[in-house]
């Protein structure tokens, strides 16, 4: 479904991604982790063309992302994305946040869009908040709306960039629960996250990045039981012990 082949990217002389290659099959859940600044966000943004890259190739569902002839907007409408800071549109009500792209991009009728929105809000447990504005919700609620918003486009896969790291500790689980459910329903997912509990529960594979390189790309068990690289071991030690 997603295939990356020797993707490299640099800002000036600074190498953000070096020769990153990996494959994601339909239904897989990939967790991407690694130290701050290692290029996780950049990698995941390359998948739907939010960040351009200089060399290599990314194919999503048979379409080459880097190809200048690709209709990126169309590609992106089939890939859901959830951001660290939710990025709901603050001037629209929750239900409008869910409907706007359905109507304007997919061309659904407002009624159809509303029906879809309601069922998704139901699913993330927020039917009651439909008429509110994002600023009136807690962080955890906002992130659940953001997930619902992405799902409203009927994406073929979902990208998550640290979806829980801006949340109060209490609210982390309500978001992880939604994600877990999604994974169990067979959604293809790439998640940048440090929630190792989540990784242990649902990941099929874990990718560990350092300094722009994919250092480990293992099955979950292999990674947690015996990460090969020293860097990954150090990282795990730091992140797990407290």
């Amino acid at each position: 479904m997603i295939s990356m082949n020797k993707v490299s990217k640099h800002y000036g002389s600074f190498q953000v991604l070096s020769d990153c290659s990996t494959q994601v099959e339909k239904g897989e859940v990939i967790v991407v982790c690694g130290p701050s600044g290692s290029g996780k966000s950049t990698l995941i943004k390359c998948v739907n063309g939010l960040e351009p890259f200089q060399s290599g190739e990314i194919i999503v569902n048979g379409v080459s992302v880097g190809d200048p002839k690709t209709d990126l907007a169309k590609l992106r409408s089939t890939v859901g994305m959830v951001f660290q800071n939710f990025e709901l549109f603050p001037h629209m009500r929750i239900v409008e946040n869910l409907c706007i792209a359905q109507v304007k991009v997919l061309g659904r009728s407002p009624d159809e869009a509303r029906a879809k929105a309601s069922s998704l809000l139901e699913r993330v447990g927020l039917s009651e908040q439909a008429g509110k504005y994002p600023g009136q919700l807690s962080g955890g609620q906002q992130q659940r709306v953001a997930i619902a918003r992405a799902l409203a486009m009927d994406p073929i896969c979902m990208l998550f960039d640290e979806p829980t790291s801006a949340l109060d500790p209490e609210m982390v689980n309500e978001v992880l629960d939604v994600m877990t459910e999604l994974a169990q329903e067979g959604m293809t997912m790439m998640c940048v996250t440090h929630e190792m509990g989540f990784a242990k529960r649902v990941a099929t594979r874990v990718i560990f990045m350092d300094q722009g390189r994919i250092v480990e790309d293992d099955s979950k068990d292999a990674f947690f039981e015996a990460a090969r690289s020293e860097r990954a071991q150090q990282f795990l030690a730091k992140i797990l012990h407290h």
Partner: protein, 245 residues
């Protein structure tokens, strides 16, 4: 201070006999309002376009927009006014220039002043629009694009609605500035409020009354605009957002 206060001066007929001095002031007041409002509408439209262009990834477009802003920001309004009124017709092809000059002079003055004020202000509006867009979290643009919006759609549905709300307060002061700057237009002979005030001094030699009246008129405009913009600010306020309820 040996000064003959004479507030009745406003009720006296003018030297040319066609009106009272109060009527003159009122004419000037209307001229100031008409000039400022029309310039403001143009400035908003042009400024919004230029401001958006300054933030787009296309280098050519954003360079062009930047050049526009720099030119109109870095020449004093007074100089620009003279350039529009006196110099621009000389730079046009002869026939055009002559045709332009034969039109009604009040219209010439009005349009030169309007164009000048509008473009001068549009550069400032463009800067506000740009900073409004840039002050949105960068993730907003990404979020819009990631939903499958095209770049223009992202601006239309995601970035501009919020940016416009954010810049209402700084735009208020630009809006006020346009009224104040319109006072400069008397230098090309346009009979707006400040000019009528000065005429009154010329004709009646009662400077203090005239100054006080003109200053009060500007204060009045200011108060009305401030309340109007504050009302607008309330209207567009987003619930739950910073500064919102």
């Amino acid at each position: 201070m040996a000064y003959n206060w004479n507030w009745d001066v406003f009720l006296q007929p003018t030297a040319t006999g066609d009106d009272t001095y109060l009527g003159w002031m009122f004419y000037g007041f209307k001229m100031t309002i008409a000039l400022s409002l029309s310039s403001w509408l143009i400035a908003l439209a042009v400024g919004a376009v230029v401001g958006v262009l300054r933030t787009v990834p296309n280098r050519g477009l954003s360079g062009l927009a930047t050049a526009y802003v720099e030119v109109f920001r870095n020449i004093p309004l007074l100089v620009q006014l003279f350039l529009w009124y006196f110099v621009m017709p000389e730079l046009l092809p002869l026939a055009w220039g002559d045709a332009l000059k034969q039109t009604n002079p009040i219209l010439q003055q009005f349009f030169a002043a309007m164009l000048c004020l509008a473009l001068f202000t549009s550069a400032r509006v463009a800067e506000q629009v740009r900073s409004g867009i840039n002050s949105l979290p960068p993730g907003q643009k990404n979020a819009g694009l990631a939903m499958g919006f095209t770049l223009p759609q992202t601006y239309r549905f995601v970035l501009l609605p919020m940016a416009v709300r954010l810049i209402v307060p700084p735009l208020t002061s630009e809006f006020l500035n346009i009224f104040k700057n319109s006072a400069v237009c008397s230098t090309i002979g346009l009979l707006e409020l400040a000019a009528q005030g000065r005429q009154l001094v010329d004709y009646t030699a009662q400077p203090y009354e005239s100054f006080i009246a003109v200053t009060l008129a500007y204060l009045l405009i200011n108060v009305v605009v401030m309340f109007g913009m504050r009302w607008l600010e309330e209207r567009v306020r987003v619930p739950g957002y910073i500064g919102g309820k």
